[in-house]
């Protein structure tokens, strides 16, 4: 069966297929995700939007191989995900629980790179450019706990960037940064997709952000979670914070998504 699918799915990188997840077993089982199916193509930027508590983080943990799905599966290039995939990096929602407090910013970035056993020069270059990209070169010798929440989240993003994953997944990455930094980081996302051909999946609850960033928006709704709709966003590239957001098309797309979420269940 997989054989037959290969040619038609040549560009599908990530596939979520009838995925369900409940916590606990038996009578006490709590169904968080009922049935999710969607795909992410190679080099695509997809945003997942949905109300808080719907199960977005739960979904990402399944995708990252941190916990098994109860039913269905997720796969990368047709291989079922059963543990953390080597080509993937995940930026967690809880930035203050995802950085090592005993390591400086630079050493936090180096931790996964040391595992990769890169030549020292390349590791250094990757750290430098990742820190530069998130605007934290000046903070490289500080400890995470000396930084603001927004800066910590940028460190976590820089760590993922330095890892150079083929697939980057981020869980509400810009929730705690100020508006200006947020715009910068959104544009950074668009740029790294361009430069490295990364496949990027971003969870957000900001609908404007989802429309601005995405090629497609997966709208999740109702508890337990299911896909309400997958909205194709056809805004022209390159996108720009001012011109793209002022397009009538942008307003129409965000209204589409908003009405899906606002609709009483």
């Amino acid at each position: 069966m997989a054989e037959a699918n290969v040619s038609s799915d040549a560009t599908v990188r990530l596939r979520v297929d009838g995925l369900a997840k409940s916590y606990g077993t038996g009578d006490k089982a709590k169904v968080v995700i009922e049935d999710l199916t969607f795909t992410v193509n190679a080099g695509e930027m997809v945003c997942i939007v949905g109300p808080s508590g719907v199960g977005k983080t739960t979904l990402l943990k399944c995708l990252a191989g941190l916990q098994p799905a109860t039913r269905g599966q997720a796969s990368i290039d047709g291989r079922t995900i059963s543990g953390p995939p080597p080509e993937m990096a995940l930026v967690f929602q809880d930035y203050n629980r995802s950085l090592m407090p005993w390591l400086t910013v630079r050493k936090n970035l180096m931790l996964p790179l040391r595992h990769l056993r890169l030549p020292a020069a390349e590791a250094k270059e990757r750290c430098d450019s990742a820190l530069e990209a998130v605007g934290l070169s000046h903070a490289e010798h500080q400890y995470p706990w000396q930084l603001s929440g927004g800066m910590q989240q940028r460190v976590a993003i820089a760590r993922a960037l330095a890892y150079r994953p083929e697939i980057l997944i981020m869980d509400e990455p810009f929730a705690s940064v100020d508006a200006q930094t947020r715009f910068d980081l959104e544009d950074l996302c668009l740029k790294i997709r361009q430069d490295f051909g990364m496949t990027i999946l971003v969870v957000t609850h900001d609908i404007d952000e989802a429309v601005y960033l995405s090629d497609r928006v997966v709208v999740l709704g109702s508890k337990p979670a299911k896909v309400l709709k997958i909205v194709d966003v056809d805004l022209p590239a390159p996108r720009d914070q001012i011109t793209t957001r002022s397009l009538p098309e942008f307003a129409r797309q965000r209204t589409d998504v908003l009405s899906l979420i606002k609709r009483p269940a």
């Binding site: 953390p84 967690f92 995802s98 090592m100 407090p101 390591l103 595992h115 000396q146 890892y163």
Partner: protein, 258 residues
């Protein structure tokens, strides 16, 4: 800065003041049990510098250091195993909780009857007694490693070894250090007790011997030396801890002021 200076001068000044007080109040003492400090210091010099220095002082210190080092290594190692290997936990947990309930000094007579009065007995007593605080703190520390950090280690596919050395060990560091500090105190107590109960060598044995032969000044000199060693050991530990766990000390200080 200023406050630090004040703290330092208090830290140094208070003991000096006490010594001065002791000196003046005891200078005319005729009470046999509280000889003048000047005489105690004379005996201190005669006894420990350097007559019994190698035969007793160094011997005690060597036992203390060796026993403590062994206890730390075994405690941390065993702690990792118990925290991370479920089977080991089921087998060893009850055993540990039984042994930790026994006051360390009470173990000494058992060892004396089992392996006699030798250096091995003292070393074993120190090691075994000092083992538990570090062991239990290590287990606690590893079990309380944040699941967020575990997830990060998994996502970046760190190997088991990398997780141990680069994530679990530093994350459990503050726990382990407080366990090690208790272990140090226990090791010190057991060092003295083991010498008093089953030896003719060492500072503890000398001090007890002095008391039994009514050489009260010698006894005081022994107690003074023990006090100095205990104080110095703890101070050294604090200095090293604050250096190694500077990140922890710093983050706690920041959390308090914020």
């Amino acid at each position: 800065m200023n406050r630090k200076a004040v703290n330092w001068s208090l830290g140094v000044g208070a003991p000096l003041l006490l010594v001065a007080l002791w000196w003046t109040l005891s200078s005319t003492s005729t009470n046999t049990f509280f000889p003048p400090l000047s005489i105690i210091l004379e005996r201190f010099q005669a006894l420990w510098l350097f007559d019994h220095f190698t035969s007793d002082v160094l011997l005690s210190l060597r036992n203390l250091l060796l026993g403590y080092a062994l206890a730390t290594v075994i405690g941390v190692g065993l702690g990792f195993i118990i925290a991370l290997v479920p089977v080991a936990r089921w087998v060893l947990d009850p055993l540990i909780h039984f042994f930790r309930g026994i006051p360390p000094v009470a173990l000494v007579p058992i060892f004396i009857s089992l392996i006699g009065f030798g250096v091995e007995m003292r070393l074993l007593s120190i090691t075994l007694a000092a083992l538990f605080p570090t062991l239990i703190a290590t287990v606690d520390g590893i079990r309380s490693v944040d699941s967020g950090l575990k997830d990060v280690s998994a996502v970046y596919r760190l190997t088991r070894r990398e997780k141990m050395v680069q994530v679990y060990l530093p994350a459990a560091g503050p726990h382990i250090a407080s366990g090690m500090q208790v272990s140090l105190q226990v090791a010190f107590i057991v060092m003295i007790a083991s010498e008093m109960l089953g030896s003719s060598q060492g500072i503890g044995a000398m001090t007890l011997l002095a008391q039994q032969s009514f050489m009260i000044s010698d006894m005081w000199a022994g107690i003074l030396l023990l006090g100095i060693i205990g104080f110095a050991a703890n101070l050294l530990f604090e200095i090293i801890k604050n250096k190694v766990l500077a990140w922890y000390v710093g983050s706690k200080r920041l959390a308090r002021t914020a």
